[in-house]
Amino acid sequence: MISDNLIPLFMIMSSFLPALMIFGLAEERKNLRRSLNLIGVVSTLAFVVYMFSGVYQGHHYETRFPLLPNIDLVLLAGPIALFFGALSSVLWFLTTVYAIGYLEGSPHRSRFFGFFSLCITATLGVAFSGNLITFLIFYEMLTLVAYPLIVHRGTEESRLAGQSYLMYTIFGGALLLLGTVWLYTLTGTLEFTPRGFIENVDEEHYFALVSIFILLITGFGVKAALVPLHGWLPLAMVAPAPVSALLHAVAVVKAGAFGIILVVYEVFGVEKAADMGLTQPLAVLAAITIIYGSVMALYQDDLKRRLAYSTVSQVSYIILGVAIVGPIATIGGVVHLVHQGVMKITLFFTAGNFAETLGIHKVSEMNGVGRRMPLTMTAFTIGALGMIGVPPIAGFISKWYLGLGALQADQEWVILILIGSSLLNAGYFLPILYRAWFLPSPEKWPHEHNFGSRETSLMLLIPPLITALLALIFGLLASSPYSPLEWVKLIASREFY
Amino acid sequence: MNMLFIYALTGTGLFFIGFYALIIHTNLLRKILALNIMGSGVFLVLISLAMRSGHSSPDPVSHAMVITGIVVAVSATALALVLMLKVVDITGKPDLHDQEDE
């Protein structure tokens, strides 16, 4: 019998080892590469599911490896970890299928899929980190392995986008490292603990703790694209669609948001942070980001850039939920991690389909797309409506809990933000839907590919349909026992007294 | 004051005169000579301080250091001279200021 404590390590390895093997493959070994990819995906998923059921039965999965004096590398399958890990591995599975279809016949696929797998290794590492240093290590790994994906096309434009991405993220990483080490010198530990691990720090270090909080939030804020640290995200849109999907819904941006969640809940403890007066400014910052992202999205004609700004806005819902302070808002914020993930990935998959099939990159070119590609457009519509917050799609659940949470915490102003942002969301999504469904299609699409009887290749079509379906199910069956919402309620119960 | 300290001070003086020359002169031959003068200065200090023993014979370890030091200095000087000749061969002049003309 394999020791329970090695399971998290096996999970990490099941994407890491295939990645290494894929790097070694010659470009034309298509089938072997696919098999390796799928073996990796499936075994990762299997490990996550195994741990899920195990944790339900009270098992404990923890891989520990000594790194420095008093500091271990820890992979721990806690509730939050499994929550984020499950999201990542499921969406990775779909993105891999999508990417195989999307990159059919394009060059450097071994490199692409190698780094693609490494991205998931890093994301799962982030998800399962048992302490801040482990988190930091995988977080920086994620920064690095995402870079070759962003510059994958090898054009001057992608080079510049990659440069800006690195400038932001390396800067953020430096702040994180400083905050982490500083924290360690005060606490002597970095192990994530429900309700935080800073109680024992003396009052006299108040200023230091505030500085650490700012450093950590700023560090994570770069990837979470908090205004004004969001500049790299719209530029990074030059990457291929599966990369954008991965960046926005699963890996990079989410890792930043996830980091903020951990800092507030498992490092400082949300109530302690609130007592120190740290959460209110964070809430304001999140609110500004929500409105700013939405307003900017209104002005983008490029579809992917519009989606990118939408991400800037939507991810801050998560942060807002965290910063409002209160069990219900927490539920709204944390569950949005998953809800935003499935909805946004749907949008990016479908945007990629439009580009790949018809050569459509701009909103203004989308007239009548609905009739040409009805299934794709249906998925897009579900994602978009979910983003706006239309019931019964998942996005509605998030916003509902956020609103309730705000009221519970006497933060009525948040309601205004939610309403305002929903209106803005509608403002930049509804015109697209209108164009696609109700306007006549042009004589000729910008760059049309023929996929026979189907609207597009099956591998491009199925993933968005599944994610759209998930977005619906997560909304419809929100109160069934295995839904993300119920899981998040369990998490929230650990974080509040 | 003991006579040997005068030698030791002379050695120190030689060392720093050599040091000065090493920095000031651009001609490589002079630089190499300067290093040799510095070396002689150190050896003189070592030899003269070895006389402090009061015995009939001076401190042998200090002497052994000087002998080893001389061998090393000779080797280094030979290498430096050959390298200098090579530099002269290639750039046409015995100094390090090379106009980037390739």
Binding site: F23, L67, L68, P69, H108, R111, L136, I137, E140, M141, L144, Y147, P148, V151, G154, T155, S158, R159, G162, L166, M167, I170, F171, G173, A174, L177, L178, V181, Y184, T185 | F15, F19, L28, L35, M38, G39, G41, V42, V45, L46, L49, A50, R52, V61, S62, M65, T68, G69, V72, S75, A76, L79, A80, L83, K86, V87, T91, L96, D98, E102
Partner: protein
């Protein structure tokens, strides 16, 4: 059987193997490659067994000629020496594997004897505990290094070698003068004896100034680094690698040893401040210069100037009482050796591949030389100090130590240095993916030249992963307790 193997004199073989190899490769120069590889393999095996016996039986001490110090010379190896020896063997293996394909037959004939003699000299130096013996070993290493620099056989290489020779000879003479004064002041050349004899007198501090000055010059600490970029950037790639990775570490090692046993316990904090200040200057100046370079090899050379600054920053923090910072010193030195040698080998590959090292004209290297690209990227990660690499562990300790001592200036320098290094590393990497505006022909790079670079870079990364084992080795014999505390 195992017991018997452990009692063999592995430390002495570390010196005798490369010497013998050098002589054989001098006599049968056509077989240089084979002799070199066999020799370095033996060196590696010896290091492994020496490490094993030291881990099992504590520090190694050997009285040469049966004459105990101070009359004779003692060989001594504790955790610190051991790590340096392991570093030499690993980097040595990487460079040797690379060199068998790099040099022309004529160059190879000259390369192997000198290179093996350098390995012998480095091993001798790291095993020694005698300040005059250090001098002889330093000269051995220095003269051989200069000769190898000149092997580049270009105008720049000769000028670089000449400048290097003058600097290293000046450094040696300063050091020798200090040795002489220290001997006549305190009656011994043996470090352990000296550490018992010394008192804080003018002689002590003047000899420290002379020895320290000489060693700083040899280590190329800012602003005494003027000789380094021309020499390191004009030498043949394997030579640049060994210069940056190993040679400058040898004088740095002596400085640490002297400080820990002789001068440190009597210091009052001045030296720390000076070293810290110079280290900070080196980091900023070196990184800034690296960022400005348009040629890759010069960029890598200036990066060495900056990385030396980290060593001294760590040294300064360690001197002012942070035991953590000593660990930083070890990790920074070790990981820099691995990463920087990998980087110079990469530059060698690129130079051969495209015939130039202009950064903006690198032409789709990521596609065409993936292994070399990976090597550069991994080495870069360690140089920047990104997790999880040896460089990261070093900078982590450094940051922790600076924060514990509330040295905010150092904290800022550290962050700034990391950002600058990231900037210059990624400036290069970003051009790996794009086509050059002037596409050019390319030559084939032998696999061993690519893999040698990758393995060294990989070792720099793994150093981070196995940091706890490295730390437990370093701790053998408590090299970082000042002599006063040991009593």
């Amino acid at each position: 059987m195992m017991q018997f193997i452990m009692t063999l004199p592995w430390a002495i073989m570390l010196i005798l193997f490369p010497l013998t190899g050098a002589i054989i490769s001098f006599l049968w120069s056509k077989q240089g490659n084979k002799i070199g590889l066999v020799t370095i393999t033996f060196v590696l095996i010896s290091v492994i067994f020496l490490a094993w016996s030291i881990i099992e039986q504590d520090v190694y001490l050997h009285t040469i000629g049966g004459w105990d110090a101070p009359l004779g010379i003692n060989l001594y190896a504790d955790g610190l020496s051991l790590v340096m020896l392991i570093m030499t063997a690993l980097v040595g293996l990487g460079i040797s594997i690379y060199a068998i394909s790099y040099f022309s037959a004529d160059q190879s004939k000259r390369f192997w004897p000198l290179w093996l003699l350098i390995i012998a000299g480095l091993n001798a130096l790291f095993l020694s505990s005698d300040i005059f013996n250090y001098y002889v070993a330093l000269e051995l290493i220095g003269l051989a290094a200069v000769s190898l620099t000149a092997l580049g056989n270009t105008r720049k290489a000769f000028l670089g070698a000449m400048r290097y020779l003058l600097a290293t000879l000046l450094g040696s003479l300063l050091y020798l003068f200090g040795v002489g004064l220290l001997y006549h002041g305190f009656g011994s050349l043996d470090i352990a004896t000296l550490s018992r004899n010394v008192q804080s007198t003018p002689v002590l501090w003047v000899s420290f100034a002379l020895m320290g000055g000489g060693l700083l010059l040899k280590t190329a600490l800012f602003p005494l680094h003027f000789w380094l970029p021309p020499a390191h950037s004009s030498a043949p790639a394997p030579v640049s690698a060994l210069l940056s990775a190993l040679i400058i570490k040898s004088s740095f090692y002596i400085l640490i040893r002297l400080w820990l046993s002789i001068f440190g316990p009597l210091g009052d904090g001045t030296v720390e401040s000076i070293f810290g200040l110079l280290g900070a200057g080196a980091i900023l100046w070196g990184s800034f210069q690296a960022l400005r370079q348009t040629r890759l090899k010069l960029l890598v050379a200036y990066s060495t100037v900056a990385q030396i600054g980290y060593l001294f920053l760590a040294f300064a923090l360690a001197m002012s009482g942070g035991s953590i910072a000593w660990n930083a010193v070890v990790f920074l030195a070790f990981s820099h050796a691995l990463a920087k040698s990998a980087m110079f080998l990469v530059v060698g590959n690129l130079l051969r591949f495209g015939g130039h090292d202009e950064i903006i004209h690198l032409d789709r290297v990521a596609q065409r030389l993936p292994i070399t690209t990976a090597a550069f990227a991994l080495a870069g990660i360690s140089i920047i100090g990104l997790p999880l690499s040896g460089g990261f562990i070093g900078k982590y300790f450094l940051l922790e130590s600076a924060l514990l001592q509330e040295q905010w200036g150092f904290v800022i320098i550290l962050l700034l240095g990391s950002l600058l290094s990231a900037a210059y590393i990624f400036k290069v990497i970003s051009h790996f993916f794009t086509p050059s505006s002037t596409p050019h022909d390319s030559k084939i790079i032998p696999a061993n030249m690519e893999w040698a670079a990758l393995l060294l870079a990989l070792a720099a990364i793994l150093l981070g992963l196995f940091s706890s084992s490295v730390l437990s080795i370093v701790d053998i014999g408590s090299p970082f307790e000042l002599e006063g505390e040991k009593l």
